[in-house]
């Protein structure tokens, strides 16, 4: 089977996809989501295994992967941005938690 995509989203509800190889800024990224394929343009480099935004997120918005919340956006980011510890944060087991 030949791969025609270079990123994968696990669940249709996901707002981020995982890069299957190192992505470069300006590159058109083909994302597989279940049986479907979607495209997004990378706005910056995203390393293999790292996340790329599929849509814009506002600060405070939950970030979904595996169809579940993995973090909260700490700042707004756009589709195609690298999504990682610089712009999202765990909502659990934090010093702010009760």
């Amino acid at each position: 089977m030949e791969i025609t995509w270079n990123a994968i989203a696990i669940d249709p509800a996901d707002g981020v996809a995982v890069a299957l190889r190192d992505l470069t800024a300006g590159e058109k990224v083909i994302v597989r989501i279940g049986g479907k394929v979607e495209t997004v343009t990378a706005r910056e480099a995203v390393a293999l295994g790292h996340k790329i935004a599929l849509r814009a997120h506002a600060a405070g918005e939950p970030v979904m992967k595996y169809g579940a919340r993995i973090a909260i956006a700490t700042q707004a980011f756009a589709a195609g941005d690298h999504v990682h510890v610089h712009n999202i944060k765990s909502a659990r087991a934090r010093k702010e938690s009760k």
Partner: protein
């Protein structure tokens, strides 16, 4: 996939269990006897030494957990017999009595008996271990059904490929073992955090579901009390380099290694499962400690998934290293036992890779060496849950 074997060749133990290995163990039950025990094991090629830095000044649950780990390691089916080395005869007999319940030969050496002469203690341990090794070498492997296998499942230095590939492949292998009547355990409670609602849905009953959620909440509250964020510790630096941003993200990937079968119970550290099937262990997230918890519960073989690579293996149970990351598989040729990267590259599906992994599990259970065994990576790492007196 009918060609996948459903039995392995193991060593029959008096309690009916099957060893995948035939180790003679020299076990020190407290830090001050470690060198006496280690010296004895070093004198005899192939004899396995395990020691603990602790063993005095412990009390309450911490003392019980330490005892359970020591006794559990002696009772592990991979141990043919054990020489237990300690300081005072009273404490030593307490451990040895529980260990001997397995019916396997158990000998003791106390520094008391040698009037604190550590060299005499080593000499006595050498003679005991020599006799046990002589007897163990007379045992031959015989056929056991796959249902006689109890497998620990662990991950270390995970990255985003772990949740996509290596963990789901391990989960497929776990499903296969559970379907044949075997047993598996997954620990690292903190790595259910953020995914506990999904894991709890697979609990065999409401009490198990509650135990899962409660265990996570206890760990989360314990972390919060430290006044630190979990991020940076778990996920750790190497997880973050690999693209994992939060504990929830890591957990959602980590739980894939539990497969899809019902969860029969939540074990305490070193607790033996009461039946067959899939269990969770409420235990530490540091993999060397987690693996010792599994070995003390009786696991005879471990699966260990990694993203970036991780050489650590358990001393008593052979540990199969699995990665789904193509560059890791290429770079760490003498570390990775199972290359799941064809799944990452879209050339193999998860079920087929799981069947291929199960085949390797049966081969390793029957005696095929892992890279970690060849390189002598194995160690045991005891967990403490309290401070000393």
């Amino acid at each position: 996939m009918s060609k996948v074997p459903s039995e392995f060749l193991g060593y029959a133990r008096p309690d009916g269990s099957a060893g995948t290995r035939n180790h003679v163990l020299v076990l020190s039950i407290l830090g001050l006897a470690n060198r006496a025990a280690e010296r004895a094991a070093q004198a005899l090629p192939g004899v396995l030494y395990v020691g603990t830095p602790y063993g005095r000044g412990q009390y309450g649950d911490d003392k019980t957990a330490h005892r359970d780990q020591l006794v559990g390691l002696c009772r592990n089916p991979n141990i043919a017999g054990a020489v237990i080395v300690g300081a005072d005869r009273g404490a030593l007999e307490g451990i040895a009595h529980l260990a001997a319940a397995s019916g396997k030969p158990t000998r003791t050496v106390a520094l008391d008996d040698t009037h604190e002469d550590s060299l005499d203690a080593s000499a006595a341990a050498i003679r005991h271990a020599g006799e046990l090794a002589h007897a163990a070498s007379r045992l031959r492997r015989e056929k056991f059904p796959a249902s006689a296998l109890f497998m620990g499942v662990e991950c270390g230095h995970s990255d985003a490929t772990s949740g996509l590939v290596a963990n789901p492949v391990s989960g497929a292998c776990v499903d296969r073992l559970v379907d044949t009547g075997g047993t598996a355990v997954v620990g690292e409670t903190v790595e259910w955090l953020g995914a506990e609602h999904i894991v709890a849905k697979r609990a065999a009953n409401d009490a198990v579901a509650k135990a899962i959620v409660d265990a996570v909440l206890r760990r989360e509250q314990a972390v919060a009390r430290t006044g630190q964020d979990l991020t940076g510790n778990n996920p750790g630096a190497e997880n973050i380099r690999g693209g994992l941003s939060s504990i929830e993200e890591k957990s959602l990937g980590a739980i894939a290694k539990t497969g899809s079968r019902p969860i029969q119970g939540v074990l305490a550290l070193a607790e033996r499962p009461a039946g067959k099937g899939l269990y969770l262990m409420d235990g530490p997230s540091f993999s060397p400690e987690s693996l010792t918890g599994f070995a003390a519960a009786g696991a005879q073989l471990m699966l260990f998934t990694t993203g970036a690579g991780n050489a650590f293996t358990n001393a008593i149970a052979p540990t199969i290293k699995i990665t789904g990351r193509p560059d890791t598989a290429r770079r760490l040729v003498q570390q990775i036992d199972f290359d799941a990267s064809p799944v990452f590259e879209g050339r193999e599906d998860i079920a087929d890779a799981g069947a291929r992994l199960f085949e390797l599990v049966m081969a390793v259970a029957s005696g095929a060496a892992t890279w970690g065994e060849i390189h002598g990576e194995g160690a045991e790492c005891f967990t403490r849950i309290g401070a000393s007196m």
